[in-house]
């Protein structure tokens, strides 16, 4: 089960305003594929082109090799879960879930059987006869999910399905979504602006910015090996430090030099080092490292988070695993070092990664 989706050089315009200009991506059968990016970058626009609510001004979208540009939405056999649930308020839960079967002329008994089965799967079978108004947000989203899956769609599309839920429910529901997608194995395109959500549910993630794909990769590689500074900055917390590449050794000035093994051949001199808070270590002042001064600290349980000022403008964040030793006092002078094999290094002009393949 599951179909492949190829988005081939598509263009979307609203009047004169081009939102997406020649975007391509391939989604594999049965894959949980996420479009991740800041608000307004065109995720919803792309998703709605796939399902057919938006026209396509150029390029084509193929499902299992067949061009679907001109097929109307109601014949694309794609299920969609909306941000605001879009549960039909005048139908009870079971009728909501069975609606797509009704439009497919499935007979009544079979409809009921399949709807009930699906309600069990999303664990709301006890509410089958309730009206949506009597359900919580999380329960309504389960109805919407069941309703989209029960029609056995080729593709399941979800547009920020969790953003209307509170934090705790979000985590719970994203596990439900992940589990069910795994069970039924439908090709799924998921849209979110929440990187943690994307990292936790996806097989692969496409990071978008201003209608352009920045990187398509597994969550792990997106996090650990971002393709450019935008991705590095958007996913997780990242400190950007300017440095010079001196033939495989990073020179941060102030006498701190550190050799790296991950740089690709012939990398430029002017680079930016992207170090996550856990990729920086704190050492006593005077030792080799970038000199700084502790501004403040926050104890977070498993770790302690330090804000360290390098100079008047530049501040970096560092996390240190918690132990019983004393927290460094504000104003303490320190030296910061990076973990050379973990950090990412970007070309300072083009902002693209200088890390070689395979590390």
């Amino acid at each position: 089960m599951g179909v492949a989706i190829e988005v081939d050089n598509v263009i979307k315009r609203y009047g004169d305003h081009t939102v997406i200009n020649g975007l391509s991506l391939d989604i594999k059968p049965g894959e949980f594929f996420t479009l991740l990016g800041p608000s307004g970058c065109g995720k919803t626009t792309l998703l709605r082109m796939i399902i057919g609510f938006n026209t396509i001004e150029g390029g084509e979208i193929r499902v299992d090799g067949q061009v679907i540009n001109k097929i109307p939405t109601n014949r694309r056999n794609m299920g969609m879960v909306f941000q605001n649930y879009a549960v039909f308020p005048h139908m009870n839960v079971r009728d909501n879930v069975a609606y797509g079967l009704k439009t497919r002329k499935v007979d009544k008994a079979e409809r009921r059987r399949r709807a009930d089965e699906m309600l069990k799967m999303v664990k709301i079978d006890q509410y089958a006869d309730r009206m949506p108004a009597q359900l919580s947000g999380g329960q309504q989203q389960r109805v919407a999910l069941a309703r989209a899956i029960v029609i056995q769609p080729d593709v399941l599309l979800m547009d920020e399905p969790l953003s209307n839920l509170d934090a705790k429910l979000r985590v719970e529901m994203r596990n439900v979504i992940k589990r069910i997608q795994h069970q039924v194995g439908i090709t799924t395109v998921y849209v979110t602006h929440d990187q943690e959500e994307a990292l936790s549910v996806s097989d692969r993630i496409a990071v978008m910015h201003d209608g352009v794909i920045q990187q398509i990769d597994t969550p792990k590689r997106i996090y650990l090996r971002p393709a450019n500074e935008f991705v590095a900055g958007f996913i997780g917390l990242t400190n950007f430090l300017p440095a010079d590449n001196d033939g495989g050794t990073l020179d941060f000035g102030c006498g701190y030099r550190v050799p790296v093994t991950t740089l690709r051949e012939g990398a430029q001199k002017a680079v930016t080092v992207a170090a996550r808070p856990e990729e920086i270590t704190i050492h006593p002042a005077g030792e080799p490292g970038i000199p700084g001064e502790i501004r403040s600290s926050v104890f977070l349980g498993t770790s302690t988070h330090y804000f360290v000022a390098l100079n008047a403008e530049k501040e970096v964040e560092v996390t240190v695993p918690s132990d019983l030793s004393d927290t460094l006092a504000d104003g303490t002078k320190v030296a910061l070092r990076i973990l050379p094999d973990k950090v990412n290094i970007f070309n300072r002009e083009s902002h693209t990664s200088l890390i070689r393949e395979g590390v």
Binding site: N54, T55, N77, M80, G100, T103, A144
Partner: protein, 552 residues
């Protein structure tokens, strides 16, 4: 929502059908009026003679002046009364608000001329109250006629409109605004003039405009109570319907003049309202409060007093409907059902006609209105926007002008509708359409587009999604609106009076013709049946919607 997507052919066809209907039943008659107004009655050549004749004779221009005078004064009084009533009932706990609401709507819904006729019964030359004072002081009071009479009737009859609109606006006014102003040290007076009034100003203006147009174009009231005080619509009606002076082309010119005036005021109102419009929705509306006993007493006195005065004509009519007349207009104290017996035997069609026409019009209004509002919100295109604008036209067409236009347009084949039930039903439908569309548009706007998209993604066609998802979701709001439409439609007079025949006579028309013929007993009985219907419909409205207030 994705705008400017291709519209499915069904929607295009439906839009075109609706467009065609509006062109035939609104645009064409209006154009005909415009055309006739510049025709010479004798030679049929183009001329401005009709307009010159109007503007050069003092007799005619005076009527325009008179109309403006009564309309401005009555509108100001009505707006003040309505505003005060709404504000007080929102701010102060008043017992029986629900009943008061019904009474206020009832006093609004009866056609104004019924008020005129009832006030003559009370304050006229031989009125009950006049007679009482005459006897008491041994004097001969002249009775209330002319300017004062017209203003009295219109003010009391129109304040409910302002009241209903302002109540709606106040309901949407979040109390935190009030509290914020109070916490910033604003006095009660400052709060009202600085915060509340500016926020509800667009509503006040919009409702005042409705009052203005209604008063300006009503002919029944000045006809009955005006005596020598001649207003513009009276001249219009006489020119068109009068037996002595009947000049159709001159009447057409008068129609154009009144259309021009309502148009100017419509845009003036729009212009002011747009510059002061705020979107509001209250999380926590203002709650009525307890006030000091003295203020409370004054508030009760005012609110109940105004409602009493507003209802007095109705009450008079209802009482007299059960009394026997000795001579026309002189009622004995004897209880009798003779009036009712007369009206039921005289023209047994009147009541069925009223209900049937009203029902047909409502069905048409609801079906077409729902469709247009859906199309103009969800399938926005040049075509649907055009239809949306066209359907607003009747908003500024006085009923009598519409009636005259229909008579011009549908006298001859292929659309020889004069004297049929159809022409009245169409007139009622057209007149009510703008209101229904506006409320239905608001309802569509509140439904998220993704609901419909969900249905389409589940395999339903656009038409099926509309039928199975949109329509059921819109229904509760639309039905509530339909009940109010029903109540207004059955009390419509100004176009029906132009279009009726004996076989298509309705209740309001009957009241009017009976009053004109001095058969006050029959008029009272007809009117009472009308009032009873309105009250029952309104009770149904409250029961179904669970609301406490009403918007028309």
């Amino acid at each position: 929502m994705n705008k400017r997507q291709k519209i499915a052919p069904v929607w295009r066809v439906l839009t075109l059908i609706v467009l065609a209907l509006f062109v035939i039943f609104v645009v064409y008659p209006l154009i005909l009026i415009l055309y006739r107004s510049i025709l010479d009655p004798k030679t049929n050549s183009i001329t401005m003679e009709n307009f010159t004749r109007f503007f050069t004779r003092k007799y005619y221009t005076n009527t325009l002046k008179n109309s403006f005078k009564v309309t401005v004064v009555a509108t100001l009084i009505a707006a003040t009364l309505g505003l005060l009533m709404a504000y007080i009932t929102r701010q102060v706990k008043i017992r029986g608000t629900k009943t008061l609401n019904i009474l206020i709507v009832v006093s609004y819904l009866s056609p104004p001329f019924i008020g005129a006729y009832a006030w003559i019964q009370l304050l006229g030359r031989n009125g009950i109250i006049t007679g009482f004072f005459n006897k008491l002081f041994g004097i001969q009071l002249p009775g209330i006629y002319g300017f004062a009479g017209i203003v009295l009737v219109f003010s009391l009859q129109s304040f409910p409109l302002v009241y209903m609109y302002v109540c709606g606006a106040l309901e949407n006014l979040d109390n935190s605004l009030n509290e914020a102003a109070e916490s910033l040290g604003a006095s009660n007076f400052q709060r009202v003039t600085g915060i509340i009034l500016p926020l509800i100003l667009p509503t006040v203006l919009a409702s005042s405009l409705l009052v203005f147009m209604r008063v300006f174009s009503d002919f029944g009231t000045p006809m009955l109570i005006g005596e020598g005080y001649r207003t513009f619509p009276v001249v219009l009606y006489n020119q068109f319907m009068g037996e002595v002076t009947n000049d159709n082309y001159f009447a057409a010119a008068l129609c154009v003049i009144i259309l021009f005036i309502t148009l100017v005021f419509f845009f003036l109102q729009r212009w002011i309202a747009q510059r002061h419009s705020y979107s509001m929705s209250a999380l926590k509306p203002m709650q009525p409060r307890e006030v000091r006993p003295l203020s409370k007493a004054l508030c009760y006195l005012f609110v109940y007093g105004v409602v009493f005065l507003g209802m007095l004509p109705q009450v008079t009519v209802i009482i007299t409907s059960f009394l026997k007349e000795s001579t026309p207009g002189m009622f004995t104290n004897e209880f009798s059902l003779v009036n009712y017996r007369t009206i039921f035997s005289k023209n047994p069609l009147v009541i069925p006609n009223t209900y049937l026409f009203g029902l047909c019009a409502i069905v048409l209004v609801v079906v077409i209105g729902t469709l247009i509002s859906y199309l103009s919100v969800r399938k926005r295109s040049v075509l649907t926007s055009t239809v949306d604008t066209l359907t607003m036209l009747p908003y500024i067409i006085p009923g009598s002008v519409l009636g005259i236009a229909f008579l011009y347009a549908f006298a001859k084949p292929p659309l020889a509708l004069t004297g049929t039930a159809a022409i009245i039903i169409v007139a009622l439908t057209v007149r009510r359409m703008p209101y229904t569309i506006r409320s239905a548009t608001a309802i569509v706007g509140q439904i998220s587009p993704s609901i419909e998209e969900a249905s389409i993604s589940l395999g339903a066609s656009e038409v099926r999604s509309f039928g199975e998802i949109m329509v059921p979701m819109m229904m509760p709001g639309v039905i509530a609106g339909a009940i109010m439409s029903w109540v207004t439609v059955i009390s419509e007079l100004s176009s029906s009076i132009m279009l009726y025949r004996a076989s298509t006579q309705t209740l309001t028309v009957s009241v009017y013709t009976e009053v004109i013929r001095d058969c006050f007993g029959n008029a009272a009985a007809y009117s009472t049946v009308l009032t009873a219907t309105s009250v029952l419909s309104m009770l149904l409205f409250f029961k179904l919607t669970g609301k406490r207030s009403i918007s028309v």
